[in-house]
């Protein structure tokens, strides 16, 4: 069986169909080969989208309307840690492929700043991997978000 494929990229700006395609253009053949291999029984896609309101710590946590989130990254460590996390989760849960993309810079309300796609043989490991990845991303990958208030 072909080895698992891991793709992890930090992308400038929001994650749109176009920016995603550009970011993974050199790796898309490998991802597609996995999907066509006959070993994938489950694919999952998560999109993290900037919501309209966030709690403002300067207002006691009261919800306040956003214009955007601005993502600061410690480069190049952020992409390296995103890839290391993807490698670890892929191995821990026996995935067939994992693609993790995260934005750098400004992402407006309604736009996606994080996309995670997982291909696995069965749904069980894919669902567990997805939750584990997101939890660990929020602890381990040096990315910070700064609110741009409306």
């Amino acid at each position: 069986m072909m080895g698992a494929v891991v793709v992890a990229v930090i992308v400038d700006g929001p994650l749109t169909r176009q920016t995603i395609a550009q970011a993974v253009s050199l790796r898309v053949d490998g991802l597609n080969r996995v999907l066509e291999s006959g070993t994938v029984g489950s694919t999952l896609r998560f999109e993290g989208i900037v919501r309209r309101a966030e709690p403002d710590p300067n207002e006691g946590g009261a919800a306040r309307d956003l214009r955007a989130l601005d993502y600061q990254t410690y480069d190049p460590m952020a992409e390296r840690e995103l890839e290391r996390l993807a490698d670890r989760v892929c191995e821990q849960f026996g995935l067939r492929s994992i693609m993790a993309l995260h934005s750098r810079g400004r992402v407006d309300v309604g736009e996606a700043s994080f996309v995670l796609e997982i291909a696995s043989t069965h749904r069980a490991e894919g669902l567990l991997a997805m939750t584990a990845f997101i939890d660990r991303l929020k602890q381990d990958v040096p990315i910070w978000k700064h609110a741009v208030w409306a």
């Binding site: 600061q72 410690y74 190049p76 460590m77 995260h102 991303l137 929020k138 040096p142 910070w144």
Partner: protein, 95 residues
């Protein structure tokens, strides 16, 4: 004969809420080094706690934070030498 250990001045990059709170992208701490000019990540964290009250009020206990040395997470006993890039990784919030 008294031998005074050298003091290293270590520059620490800061990000996110810490950077926003102190309005700077780096802080410096003075740490007693070995005679070979080496200190540890744990010593730098302790120095940050002691020498920068503004960081304490933003992060809380700096012991909960981590340092990266040359862009790799460092345990408390990791060595830091002159010229190493040191960053405080705290309150991350991606995803």
């Amino acid at each position: 004969m008294n031998r005074t250990l050298p003091v290293m001045r270590v520059e620490v990059l800061v990000f996110g809420p810490v950077r926003a709170a102190i309005q700077r992208d780096r802080v410096t701490v003075d740490v007693v080094a070995t005679e070979h000019g080496v200190c540890t990540a744990g010593e730098v964290l302790k120095a940050l706690q002691e020498q920068h009250p503004a960081l304490r009020s933003t992060i809380g206990s700096i012991e909960r934070a981590r340092l990266a040395v040359n862009q790799r997470y460092a345990d408390g006993d990791a060595a830091i030498r002159a010229g190493d890039e040191v960053a405080l990784i705290a309150m991350v919030g991606g995803g």
